[in-house]
């Protein structure tokens, strides 16, 4: 497998231009997401979904306007992938998580499995869609469309280890400049999803940006649950068998 690749989105230098949203749709031929004036700052696409794979959040605070481009986290422990019965979701050689549209049968198991609410089914074709981290571009040796389009390098693409290093330095520098509110989100391999392939530098609590503060891979308890279920099944089988045996006896 190649090196693990990912995104570091530094929201402290995001200017909210949405070039990432547009470049993503252009490259991946994602359809529009409707024309709705939401009256929520400059955000009219609302959230990540089947037809919005990059989403810029606009958070208006007193004297401050936060902007942040959200994306699929490409989790180390990806629940969507765990629950996919068809193998449509798979882990690539770049350690990213991708849905194969020609394999997906639209069962939708992955949708509630995602702890971030990223993956979603498209109403008209029923299949599940999300960021592929531009798998086709990566295979062609190119960076993802959103990172390529970002004018301020708020979205950085690269080997995850390098990005983590760079992010740590950036936070240190911001802290040294007195911006102690700067923090990283998702980069920690010990978090509930084993660290994310796409992580963020935020200037406020994750909830402010609509991000879950402490996400946990929804399949974390699956082995234990299977053990319990297995035990229960065995006990049940033993009980039934005992009944038959008892009857005979």
């Amino acid at each position: 497998m190649a090196e693990r690749m990912g995104f570091f989105t530094d929201t402290s230098i995001c200017i909210g231009c949405k070039a990432c949203e547009v470049a993503c749709k252009e490259w991946n031929q994602v359809p529009d997401d409707g024309f709705v004036f939401r009256a929520t700052s400059y955000d009219n696409t609302g959230a990540l979904g089947a037809s919005t794979w990059r989403h810029v959040a606009f958070v208006e605070q007193d004297g401050r306007w936060l902007m942040s481009s959200d994306v699929c986290k490409h989790c180390t422990h990806a629940a969507c992938l765990d629950v996919c019965p068809t193998g449509a979701l798979f882990r690539t050689e770049f350690d990213t998580v991708v849905v194969q549209a020609d394999v997906c049968n639209g069962c939708g198991y992955c949708v509630p499995a995602c702890p971030y609410g990223v993956i979603d089914r498209r109403e008209d074709d029923g299949r599940a869609w999300k960021c592929t981290l531009c798998y086709d571009r990566l295979r062609g040796g190119m960076e993802p469309a959103c990172a390529k389009a970002c004018p301020t390098e708020s979205i950085q693409f690269g080997p995850l280890d390098e990005l983590r290093q760079r992010a740590a330095e950036r936070v240190e520098r911001l802290h040294a400049d007195g911006r102690t509110e700067a923090r990283l989100y998702g980069e920690n391999p010990d978090n509930g999803v084993g660290g994310t392939g796409a992580f963020f530098l935020l200037l406020d609590e994750p909830e402010t940006y609509g991000l879950p503060p402490d996400p946990v891979v929804t399949t974390r308890d699956l082995p234990a649950m299977w053990r319990w279920a297995g035990g229960a099944a065995l006990a049940l089988a033993a009980g039934v068998a005992a009944c038959f045996l008892g009857k005979r006896g």
Binding site: K18, V22, D32, F37, A39, N44, T45, E60, W65, P151
Partner: protein, 835 residues
Amino acid sequence: MAECHPVGYQWVMEARARGAKVFHIDPRFSRTSATVDRYLAIRAGTDIVLLGALINYVLSNGLDFREYVLAYTNAATLVNKDFRDTEDLDGLFSGYDEETGRYDPSSWAYEGDVPEEEEPVEGGGHHAEAAGSDSYGARGAGASATPPADPTLTNPRCVYRILKRHYSRYTPEMVEELCGIPPERFHELAEAITANSGRERTTAWVYSVGWTQHSVGVQYIRAASILQLLLGNMGRPGGGIMALRGHASIQGSTDIPTLFNLLPGYIAMPHAHRHDGLDHYLEREGADTGWWGNRRAYVVSLLKAWWGDAATEDNDYRFDYLPRLTGDHGHYATVMGQIDGTVKGYFVVGENPAVGSANGKAQRLGLANLDWLVVRDLMLVETATFWKDAPEIETGELRTEDIGTEVFFMPAASHVEKEGTFTNTQRLLQWRERALDPPHDCRSDLWFFYHLGKRIRRRLGDDEIDRPVKELTWDYPEIGEQRDPDAEAVLREINGTGPGGRLLASLRELKPDGSTSCGCWIYCGVYADGVNMAARRTPHTEQGPVALEWGWAWPANRRILYNRASADPQGRPWSERKKYVYWDAGKGRWVGPDVPDFEEDKAPDYVPPEGAKAQDALAGTDPFIMQSDGRGWLYVPSGLSDGPLPAHYEPHESPVRNALYGRQANPARRTIDRPENPYNPALSPRFPYVYTTSRLTEHHTTGAMSRPLPYLAELQPEAFCEVSPRMAEELGLENGGWATIVTARTAIELRVLVTGRVRPLRLNGRTVHQVIMPYHWGYSSGGVITGDVVNDLPSIVLDPNVYIQESKAGTCDVLPGRRPRGTALLDLIERYRHG
């Protein structure tokens, strides 16, 4: 800048990352405000108060860069004793005529300069009436090379003293009262720009149409120029004033102009009644000292480019073939001509005036009264479809069956379907290739005008009147199946040639004797040695930071204009840190990473001999080589229509009284007093709110290139206004609901975005609310989204120098809910006009 120029804004972010302090001053809290060190909310239309107070701060604290100011500006120059300042005349300069609303600028001249006598010619009139300063000030008209001066700066008639007195009442308190900026914020700004100016540091200003679209627009820029000259920030790295343009290559379209009063290279268009032959024109249009002293070479070379062998010395190089002005032929005068029926036909190329120009109704009434209209665009813009879907159809003011305008829609090629240059705001020409042929009937503008010209020429007879067109050089090679004219051949013509067709390498080779031809003198050298310099793409890794081998900048590939000023009078760098172009005595020439904007071998101690002309009349210490005296003009003795110094006047429509002068608005502003263009009275309680128009990152101008694209349309799908929570509460406006915005012109409906980013301003104890309106929507443009036209709200009131409309500051009323439909809309406006 983040909002409209996000790609360029990356360098501002980069500068911040390296420690630059960035201020953003804007009525609107935009994406830029969100990403700077300090945002200052200002009332729309009051920037001269702020800039004037900064000038006052510099002067009264002795913070000007004195050595620079004395050597390189006209600070010491003495002004005519008849000059009277706004301080003397309560908001007027001397020379004002109440009856005509115009200035006679003769008393503004330098001492000893004899003001030019205007001959009263039939049907003509004063220059200011004909075209404003745009055809005049660019060449630094009518000032002598060595006017009397007082280097001690003590004479009350020297520019420095006049300036100091003029701005003495522009105080932090006045800034608070008129702009709404608190004194502590003002001081933070003033301290930052002065601390970051001088030998070691420079400060740059960046502006966009928020500074230009005012009845005092030119004076906004002038005020910034004064400040930058006083602080020594012109002609030096990291300094300057950068104008962010509104479209790709708008700089190019002023260099080789689509403006009525200019010929290529900022040469004045001749006037029908003021100019006879070439000699007479050249004599009257500009000074003989400084580089404009060579204007005969520029003009004759241009005429040779256009009329080739037919242009000879005996026939004045066909000077008489040039069209002549008879007055104001600007955009708004043309629209009024359409309404009056004197303008019968109209070409609209890549513009959408039905949505983009002020007072949209007047625009559309003009379009509806034409015989023919040609629209060239990528999309069926509103200007081409007004006859079936204009708002006036709904109100019954226009009926489709009554409109006689024959509309020809010509589909245009996009920028990837044609080759040519873009000229950006730094005067940088960048060549772009054609990626593919345009589809179907789509063609480039070059194709269209070339082949239209060919067809017209074929139909011409032998009449005298046809000769200017028949004799034009009109013979570009045609390429490919579509027979597109060769754009490089056009660029070669613009570059110019000498005897034997040799491509010229520099504008210094231009001759006044007809031996050279050049389509635009400032572009001469773009094709030097047969190389398309604009197409050069040497990567930054293979050249220095000035990047002289990336594209080509006019003039002569100079990247910073007037860069002689980056060295001190003796030719030494002002500091090691700001070292740029300087004199190398050993080599006997100016050296540095840029092309010197100066004669390369003119020594700093050069003193012009008596009677010298053109550049020879400027000393080795005169960096501003286009000016007649080689100095940066703090005070403008001639060339402006509304005064030698910027003074604050309220916008034509303002809810606030001018606290500085008895004159409320610019006395020389141009109003159009017609029924199609009614004004909101100043200080009217019926129109209590201030509005300004703006843009969003997601759309481009009138939306013709963004609304039809679903990926952009979904990002900002509906026309909206931004209002403060307090204003929303007072008026009962709901977030996500509707508001009706009313002016004397019309009323439009917009969705409401209530946001704390808009804050009510406290002015002298009273509250002023501002409404912010992006203007990207219209009734069609093949858009997947449509909306009411924001530019239907502003009136047509114009800056007297360049005739730009005041669309960035006006007054309005705001009502909750949607606007009335049909004739009920007209009734509403009628009540407002007379209520």
